[in-house]
Each structure stands twice: as C-alpha cells, then as structure tokens.
Symmetry: none
Subunit: 229 residues, 4 copies
DNA sequence: AATGAATGAGCCTTCATTCAT
DNA sequence: AATGAATGAAGGCTCATTCAT
C-alpha cells in the first residue's frame, strides 16, 4: 500500500479530506484522525507531513484561498470591460467547484476562525482586500465624472454592497439541506449591481446576461458559465 | 453565599456569558468552565441549572433569536407603510445590542451549528422563514400591478437580496477588529433596497433617511433611531 | 409538609429507601440524592440526619442485621428441641420480609462491602459468629456420644454446611427475575440437614415438616410459617 | 516503549488487573485508571483497546466464565462415572486459580451486576444453566428406578442443593481475611452430596475421597487433585 | 426542620502528539 | 514511508458535602 514518493499526493489528499470533514461537521473541532481516515491514511502520517493540526488547517485555508483566487484571476483575465470584470468576480465566487455545501461550510468555519486567530484573520484580510480593490477600481471606471472623493465613496459603497451580498449568499446556504444553486446566486448579484449602477445613471447591461442565463436550465456546472461567455 | 431564588439570574448570567465566550472564541468548542467562570460561578452550577452543555448552547441560541425577534416585532409595530416595515427589519438587524462583535460571532457560530445539528437548523429556519415572509409581503405591496406570479417572483428576489445582504454584513465583521458600525450597515441596506425598487419603477423614499442619518454623527445607539423617526 | 419531631420516622424512611435503591441498583454506588428522593425528602436532610453517606450505609446494614436477628431470636425462643432450633434458624432466614429481591440484593451488596471495609466486615462477622455458634450448639446436642473433638468437628461441619447453603440460596436469587420462593428454600435446607444428620445416624424428623409444607400452597407469607408451627 | 503486536498481552493484562482491582475493592465502582495502572499502562491505552469501561468489565466477566468453563470441561472429560462427574464439578469450582480471594470477590461482583444489567444476567444464566443440566443429568443416572417425574424432581433438588452450596461457600469467603481453603470446601460439598444420595439409598463412595484428602496436608493445589485421581 | 444554592473532587472519555519499529 | 503503541492534558459530567436561609 505505501507508495513511495507520494508526499505531494498525500498532502493534497489530506487537504481535500480536511475540507470534507470540516465542512461536514461545520467546525474545526474535528479529530485529525477523522481527516486522516477520510484521506486513507493514519493520523500519524498526517502529523508527519504537516507537523500539527494547526498546520493542516492553515494549509487547507490557504488552499481554498488559492483556488478561489485562481478562478478569480482567470475570470479577470478574460474580462475586457469594467462590467465584465465585476461580472467575473461574481461568477468566480459561485463556480461549482467552490460553491458546494461542504466547501461553503469550510469557508464559514475559516471566517469564524479569524475571530480568534490573528494569522487566519491576516490571510483572509489580504485576500479580501485584493478582491475589494479590484471591485472598487472597476466600479470607479463606470461612474460618471465627479469630484474624486465623491466617486471614490460611491465606488466603495457599491463594492462593499456586492462583497457583502456575496458573503451573505454563501452563509445562507447553511440553512438549506439541498445543494446550493450557483446560477441563482449569480443572477441575484447581477441584479443588485445593475440596480445599484442604474441608480446613479449607469447602464450595466447585466440584465441581458441574466435573461440569457434564465433561458438555460439553471443546472450547475454545465450551462451557467458556458452560456454567459 | 447561596442566595435563594437565584435560578433565573444564574441562567441569564450563564446565557450572557455563553454569548461572550462563544463570540470571543468564535466557536462552540468552549469549555463550560470558561462560560461558568465568566458568569461568576462554578461549572458544576452551570450543569445544575442547564443539565448539560448542549442545553446551555440551545438556550443561548433561543435567547438570541428571541432578542432579535423582539427588536423586529417592536419595529414592525411602529411601521405604518410597507417601506417602513422593510426599514424596520433593517434597523432591527443592526440594533446596537445585537450588532456587536461578540454577538455577531455567536450568531455565525450558531449558523454553522445548524450544519450538523438538525434541531439548531430548525430553530433558525423557523425564525428566518418568518422574517422572509414579512419582507416578501412588504415588497409585494410596493410593486406595481402585474400578474401574480411575476410580482411574487420579484418580491421574493428583492427579499432574498436584502436578507443575504444583511447576513453578509454580519459575517463581514469577522475580519475587522474594530467594533461594527451599525449605522453604516443600515445605510448600505437602505441604498440597496432603494436601488432595487427604483429599478422596477418604485420610489422608496429611503434615500431621504440615508441623508438624514448621514448628517448625524454615526454613533451607535443615539442618532440612528432618532434620525429615522 | 415539614412535620415536626419527625426525626425517627425520617431516619426509618431513609433506611428503607436505602434498601430499596441499593437493592434495585445492586450496588452501593448510588447517589444519596436517589435515596433521599425515594424517601421523599431532600438529600440535604439525609445528610443532616446521618452525617454522611457512609453512615447511611452502615445504619442500613445494622438495620438489616437487627431485623434478621429479631426473626432469629423469635424463632429460637419458640424452639424447644435442638432440631426445632435448627429449623428456626432456617425459617428465620427465609422469612418473607427479608427474602425479597431487593433485600437480598442489599444483603449481597453489604457482603461485598465487607471485602474492602473492615467495619462492615466486623458487623457481619459478629452476627454470623453468633448464628453459627447457635447452630453448632444445636447440632452438637443431636450427635451421639463421641470424643469431644470428634463431635465438635462434626457439628462444625454440619453448621458450616447449613450456613453456606443458606447464603448460597440467597445469592442464587440474583439470577432470576421472579420473586424468590422462601418455602422452597426452607425445604431444601431441611432436606440437607435431615440427610446430613441421617448420615451419622440421627433421625431429625424434618422430613415430616417438609411434607407438611408441600401440602400447602407454597405461597409466601401465608401458609408457610403458619403450617409449620 | 511502544512494542508492536502488543494488543493481546495488553488486553490480557488489563483483564487480570480488572479482576484484581475489582476483587480488591469488592465493587465495579473502580476507576479505570486504577485498573490500567495495575496493568502497567495509562488509562488512555485501556480505552484504546477496549473502547470503554463497560467493555472492560464485560470482557473480564467473559474471561472468568471461560476460565471456569475450561476447568469444568477438563474435569468432566476425565470423569467416567456419574459420581466422578459430580465430583469433577465440585473440584473445578474450587480450583486454586479460581478460588482465591480476589477472583471470588470479582465473581460476586458480577453476580450483583446481573441484578441491574440484563446482558450480564444473560451471560451468567447461560453458564449456570449448562452447569446445572450437567449436574441434574449425573444425579439422575444415580437415582434408583422411579417414575420419571419423581426421579427428575429428586435430581433437580440435589443439583440445586449442590449448586447453592457451592455459591454459598464462595460468598462466605467475604468474611475472612485469610485465603480461602479450597480443599475444605471440596470436602464439605462431597459430604453433602454423599449424605443427600445416601438419604435416597445410593452409596456415592465420595466418603473415601474425603478421607484420602484429609490424610494429605490440606494445601491447595497439591493434595486436592492428587488424592482424587 | 428543611431545602435550594453552591462547589471541589473525581471519573470517563477524547484527542493531539510523540516514538519505536 | 508508514503505522500501531503510548500518553498527558483537557473537557463533560456526577456527586458527596456544606452553607445560608
């Protein structure tokens, strides 16, 4: 059974197992043994590779952030206009791979971890700061001419609103037992952005995308992203 | 030391201590001893009054729901128009007493608890269902004439958007170390509702409230309510 | 509810409750609170009257010994012949009041307690020594003339055999769920004594009593003792 | 320190330690820690191997039953006549390995456990039923021709008498502090069986064995078996 | 007389972690 | 590389006992 040179796979397996088990249980209060078993190895080996439970958790967190960053970057690179960049952030947030029950629960768990763990807070802060500055920047380009501090404030408000909405859509999944519906979440975000921009006289054109997506079956993973591009 | 008739105070003290300690720690994985100490008693007494850790937690959850329900009901009773009802829900959500770091963290912890605990999920679901039906109802009265299913759908979308935004604003507090700013959150919600309604041709008049509140120092507890009424 | 001057009744109630609860549970590992509740009072009061759990237990033990001694003495006073004295011991051992499931279990529990508690051992030893000397004496009077040490040895053997048999019949009740049958136990003992004496050429006449008792319904408490006298 | 393949020895050590500690203390109310220490390991390891205190206790009980069964079967296989089978049961019951203070106390503790624990009761019942049917069968073969139900009843009575006597001899050990004398117990049983059989006209020949054993020093383990074979 | 209030001590159990193999 | 063996520390919970009322 012991394959040699398997360290990277072992680590990856453990991280995925950690997401599963933590997500399933809705807390970090999970035996390392449970994670190791889910990954098909002994807990001693998990310690061998990571050094401790904290490290497993931090690495898992890093992994989730990296994954989400990856989706985000990919979307942003394809985007040509500010609206497309905003829409990219929205779509990346609800990519099927990240928007399933267990992963969402793991996210929330890490969010909470940040309450009592400064390092965890730092990791999340860095990530969200980058995300937010991206959004602020995009919104700003869309706003009509105005004194700098005014348009800055408006852009921040819009970005904060969108960011909070995304987070809220994540947490809301905690209450349902069914698998979350990414497409519905995307549309909701688009609608809010569209409304927010319209309020200050900017036509986003996102309404068209919503309608396009509604014509498709709202099944995850297939149509959603595809139908949009 | 043993006073008589102490049970109610002791229970209340333990519940408040539980919110504190759980909120501080960002998880339910907290020694009962820590809660009891925070409440100024031995852990044995906590067990005496509650029977077990689970009961402490469930009662604490119930307490938070009751408190929030209370604020909500109070606001709704004062509201005369649909817009005021929506605004009441918003204001109640960010009432100073509930929107402080520890209470917020406790809320999120319970949200997560619902992931693995059906009873917890049930409690939350009941509460949120009631909240949402209130919002849906209010939005519906604001919508222009339209076939029933269309206006129903629109109202649901608006209610979901607002609900998610509120939750998102809660969770976002996890990242900052400063005390959350309820007024800012209220304004953000109002702005979104205003924009969302405007989008479908309804003028909410919430903008006026935002401006009114902005003129006041955004101190919690003083201006907020005052500026609104 | 608090009647005054009730100390003796309270103590008696606690002792009976202790027999019940200890017998029911088959061990001394029983909360004082359970005993007190069974006796209809708070555990604090039990401590007030007895000073501690150990005292409750010792007093309960003493009570059982006293009860059994009482039956024994009553039987022995009625006995005119050595055989009747032996038979009295047998009958007293299986008097309905002492030979019910809970009391038996309590007895065994105390027997075991003697393993680790010298005071308990002392109490039991005193009692059994007296019982045994009574039996030895009776047997000795029945034995035919023989050198002192021979007849002494034989009497001791017979007494030990009967004593062990009685104890064995007690413990055997532990396995059945039905209420123990005192009459059957009495007959078994009589039969053994009769056989043991016959072996050394003494006719006890106990066989007649066995037959007499067999003609009666072997119901506890009614016929058994009555039919014999 | 961790040797590999240690599980069987550890389990065995724990079971023996359990007999010791439970026997010493005369109750099941014994810290697992005490058992584990007696077995030379931490309590955590005891839990690791047995899963819980209950399992330790049940396994210990099973072990005692197995041991006693073993002695019994060995004796019965050597026996050629009914009298030898009866004597085998007697001798097996007082085999030195089983008839020492601690083991006896452990036995009684389990007897009591059966009072409140149906599974424990089941284990004991199965064992004793088998033992008794063996005795009944042997006695029956010794009885003179008689109507079936009469000889059946007589055999049952003799078997019950012997069974109860054995149990009684066990429990009587609780009162003395010295090590129990197996040979004396064996002789007492033999004498009773001999007398009981003689009563109904059957000569057992056990008297000869008693005398043979009396000539030997009544040391445990030496004479007993020797004088018999 | 009687009880609820209150706690320290102890037990069962789990778990992160280390180590020898 | 991989694991079973092993344990210290900690947490939930119970209970005997004391005390103020």
């Amino acid at each position: 059974m012991p394959r040699i040179g398997a360290e990277p796979e072992r680590r990856k397996a453990l991280i995925h197992a950690a997401i599963d088990v933590i997500g399933e249980h809705g807390s970090l209060d999970v035996p390392v043994k449970a994670i190791a078993e889910q990954a098909g190895m002994s807990s001693a080996l998990a310690f061998h590779y990571f050094g401790g439970k904290d490290e497993i958790i931090v690495e898992t967190m890093r992994y989730l952030l990296r994954e989400l960053s990856g989706s985000m970057i990919a979307e942003l690179q394809l985007a040509k206009t500010p609206v497309e960049r905003i829409d990219g952030v929205i779509r990346a947030s609800f990519t099927p791979g990240q928007f399933d029950r267990k992963t969402i629960a793991a996210w929330l768990v890490f969010y909470l971890k940040a309450y009592s763990s400064p390092p965890a807070a730092r990791l999340l802060t860095i990530y969200f700061r980058r995300l937010e500055s991206n959004l602020i920047d995009a919104f700003r380009q869309l706003l009509p001419a105005a004194p700098d501090d005014v348009s800055k404030r408006q852009a921040v408000e819009l970005a904060e609103g969108l960011g909070a909405l995304i987070d809220g859509l994540y947490i809301r999944q905690a209450l349902g037992t069914r698998e979350p519906d990414g497409q519905k979440a995307i549309d909701l975000c688009r609608r809010q952005v569209d409304a927010g921009l319209a309020r200050i006289g900017v036509e986003s054109g996102l309404a068209a995308k919503i309608e396009a997506s509604s014509l498709q079956p709202s099944r995850q993973g297939s149509s959603a992203a595809g139908g949009v591009h």
